[in-house]
Amino acid sequence: MNKKLTRQLYSVPYLLWIILFVITPIILVLYYSFFDIEGNFSFVNYQKFFTPVYLKMTFSSFWYAFLITVIALLISYPTAYVLTKTKHKQLWLLLIIVPSWVNLLLKAYAFIGIFGQHGMANNILDIIGVGSRQILFTDFSFIFVSVYIFIPFMILPIFNALDELNPSLLDAANDLGASRWTTFKRVIFPLTIDGVKSGCQIVFIPALSLFMLTRLIAGSRVITLGTAIEQHFLVTQDWGMGSTIAVFLILAMFLVMLVTRDRKRGL
């Protein structure tokens, strides 16, 4: 009896959190999405979403998020693998994680300095004789900075998965005739796929709704769903349209989670 009561008591903060910061906002977003800019109930926002302008925006959001995730994965997997082989792996891991504690905006401003007309990147290009060029406000700088920001979040779950891998499994594969590549393909990768999946989730979903970087680094050349939401709420004051895009973004997130969720064998 008493135990049950304390357990219920302990769950109060969690329930409050979920109700106040998850359920209520989603309901509000859904509610606002059914009002046009004049405040009349209508489905016009949903109709507008399926026009080429917004569909293109959705497509480019997905495309950039996909690129960012794939590149981050290609860099993170080998990095995490090397980290697990080093002597002071926790220290090296920490050094990679530390920059992620710095505020996103500060990092973005730092990159404006580095990639700017007279920034370090252009100075180096000058010195090696390539000549300075426009780096900031390009697709390249947008993807570069996004990948840089997301890499720690990708490395961490992959590192944990690799670190938990029983080393005698690798010996066993080797013993049974597997070359290093076969061992990777048949043992290491399948056993760390869950780490890869959660890494992709952590990167792909936020990358879909990136908005600050699109303006600061990509100079509004890249317009993602996140940017569109921000513009509607803060600039055009069309809360209805902003909410509608948010609804689709939420749907997309659930979809991604559904695709990448862990499917434990035998359960």
């Binding site: 499994l169 013993d175 076969t182």
Partner: protein
């Protein structure tokens, strides 16, 4: 070099950095079709020998021959050897069938052949019908069998077993000892089994290598090693033993605890200091007058099959006795033993000298 020989170690040393070598100039030969056991305490180098044979590491110096060919630098995946790991190392993402089929799939055999071989290997270890189970649904003993099936399915020349029974409970362990021994006989492949459990080693092996501190102390059949331990370490490690200092007065006469006894050992210097071993089961309880040794019972434990009695003689030596007869703590009793029960060990005798001395007795026996 005979055809029978499959593995040969020649002065093999393995050293990590500047530490004491894990293996120090070890030489031995392994013959086809026998069950070998590497026995020793942890850190004696037994697992290192296994890893060297498997190809997971290379020796610092010395040569390893496999089937007459030098194989120091041949990687593990190119060797005709399979290992059963201590923690089984089964692939958790694959089911029983795919675990066993792993090696065959790498060899790119036809599906039909793989299926047949896997089924056969699983039935060999009494796991027919478990093909589609997941590894985590299997018990410890069953996982053990899967690991063995995964090794034998590749039809290797040698199977290495790294303390494979240590994680099982006593009953299952005894059962698996029988099964492993039978399996080895049926398959006729060489088994090299690593353990720190001397009973396991005695029960299963054709030949035992007793290792300590990176050196082979003694090799021989279980009976040889149990009956004629070469030194204090082996006597102490294999079975329980009473070890006391003594003097070899002359051939067939040995003195210890201030008395002289008839024995069966010979070929040593006169008055050479030696150590003698008497196994606890070779000591029989009698009355004080009849006993060769007179001791006071210090403690007694009931062990099921026998009583374990510790007696102390006048000189303060403790004597461990295994007897089906009961004694009373504080009693004065006599201990009797046969001359054959006394095993004499010389200090610092090498294995070659030891073997030569034992062979000399045998020749004498034949002449008589």
């Amino acid at each position: 070099m005979t055809d029978q020989q499959i593995i040969q170690f020649k002065n093999v040393t393995k050293q990590f950095g500047d530490d004491q070598p894990v293996l120090n100039e070890v030489s031995f030969e392994i013959e086809r079709g026998k069950f070998y056991t590497l026995l020793g305490p942890s850190g004696c180098g037994k697992t290192t020998i296994l890893r060297l044979i498997a190809g997971f590491m290379e020796p610092t110096s010395g040569e390893i021959y496999f089937d007459g060919k030098l194989c120091n630098h041949i990687p593990a995946n190119k060797r005709q050897v399979n290992t059963v790991f201590q923690d089984y190392a089964l692939f958790p993402h694959l089911n029983v069938f795919e675990n066993v089929a792993f090696g065959l799939r790498i060899k790119k055999l036809k599906n039909k052949v793989i299926e047949e071989k896997v089924r056969q290997a699983l039935s060999f270890v009494n796991l027919g019908g478990y093909e589609h189970r997941e590894i985590k649904e299997m018990s410890g003993g069953q996982r053990q069998r899967v690991a063995i099936a995964r090794a034998i399915v590749n039809e290797p020349e040698v199977i290495l077993l790294d303390e494979p029974l240590s994680a099982l409970d006593l009953k299952l362990r005894t059962q698996m000892q029988y099964e492993l021994r039978q399996l080895q006989r049926r398959l006729g492949i060489t088994f090299i089994f690593v353990t720190h459990d001397q009973e396991e080693a005695l029960a299963m092996s054709d030949e035992i290598f007793v290792l300590n501190k990176g050196k082979i102390q003694q090799s021989g059949t279980p009976i040889d090693i149990y009956d004629e331990p070469i030194n204090r370490f082996v006597a102490d490690f294999i079975g329980e033993s009473n070890i006391v200092k003594g003097t070899m007065i002359e051939d067939f006469r040995v003195a210890f605890v201030g008395q002289q006894f008839e024995c069966v050992d010979q070929g040593m210097n006169k008055n050479e200091p030696i150590e003698i071993v008497i196994r606890p089961e070779d000591l029989a309880i009698t009355s004080q007058e009849k006993g060769k040794l007179k001791v006071t019972v210090v403690s007694q434990l009931f062990r099921g099959v026998h009583y374990e009695i510790i007696g102390q003689d006048a000189a303060g030596n403790e004597w461990l006795v295994h007897s089906t007869k009961k004694a009373q703590v504080g009693d004065q009793i006599g201990l009797d033993f046969e001359p054959e029960a006394i095993h004499v060990m010389r200090f610092g005798e090498s294995e070659e000298d030891f073997d030569r001395r034992l062979e000399a007795y045998a020749e004498d026996d034949e002449r008589e």
